[in-house]
Symmetry: C2
Subunit: 189 residues, 2 copies
């Protein structure tokens, strides 16, 4: 009963599974990673996966859901000490910049998931995207720009483009470049 996420040294199979799956999905893609590999690299038994999640599909959804929640939490934590709304906006780029090398420059994982499953409406992906949009609008209102909604759309387009470029070029440079573009777009607005 008290087994779930209690001792930090020994985590549950469900947790280890989710972490390993997340790393593999991010690096190689979701369709390219089979459950056999997840099981082998996590050291978890096959049956544990199916008792904990029920299917690979459910594990994928748990992965995307955790991605959304964790990304939001990281941003919230990172902007905690900041006052300037513009600095908070640029934090999106700073976080992407920091995680890009760790993720082998695979770009936006939400976009990757949407690419791999074109005809599914993936809830966490849409939710994350809407959160990003509304957060940008809010911050741009605080910054006192003339057209918060339009400018937010600009920032988000730049954000998407910088992550796409990072994936193409296997480099963090496009994200740095996008950060500058975003800063300039806010200044101009």
């Amino acid at each position: 009963m008290r087994s779930t996420a209690e001792t930090p040294t020994k985590r549950s199979p469900a947790e280890r599974l989710l972490e390993t799956a997340g790393e593999l999905f991010a690096e190689y893609g979701i369709r390219a990673v089979g459950v056999d590999r997840i099981l082998a690299e996590s050291g978890v038994a096959r049956a544990s996966l199916y008792t904990a999640y029920g299917s690979k599909d459910a594990l994928v959804h748990a992965y995307l859901d955790g991605l959304d929640r964790r990304d939001r939490a990281r941003w919230n934590e990172a902007v905690e000490a900041l006052d300037d709304p513009v600095a908070k906006i640029l934090t999106f780029f700073d976080l992407a910049l920091a995680s890009a090398p760790r993720k082998n420059f695979r770009g936006c994982q939400y976009a990757n998931a949407a690419t791999e499953f074109p005809q599914e409406r993936i809830e966490p992906v849409l939710a994350h995207r809407e959160w990003l949009r509304s957060t940008l609008v809010e911050l741009l209102e605080q910054a006192g720009v003339a057209d918060p909604k339009g400018t937010a759309e600009q920032i988000r387009l730049i954000y998407d483009g910088s992550l796409a470029g990072s994936k193409f070029e296997h480099s963090a440079d496009p994200i740095r470049f996008g950060r500058e573009m975003a800063a300039a777009a806010i200044s101009a607005a």
Copy 2:
């Protein structure tokens, strides 16, 4: 001997295969489409695929290569009547706008391929991307902007972002929005 691509009414199995594969790859993704489905929808015999291409992998590369050549040809044709270099640049967005609904708003197919095969260096994808970059630089030089290279990078980032947004939202609006952003970026430069 004279069988290859002679009569326009009845095309060769290789051609029908490539066309059907292209449509399916674009709509559902490359990994998601098996050879069985390509064969069924094209009405081509199984053996014909392997005598013509040798493997699914080779068919995929032929698809990507044809994508690159055709996209360049379409752009060249579209800008033939144009003089203004800025108009030529915006033609990239116009073409994307026109093809987006036909492709079910699946965004940039080069990005999709790069997403599905993260650790392969796909030649046509890199070539297409470099062609886009150098073409933009050339046109921006003609337009007399101060920093052609930097501005070209901006345009390409906006282009990438607009296609990514189109995929997320299943809409052509982000491409229209990106077109405006690109026009503004050129004006400002």
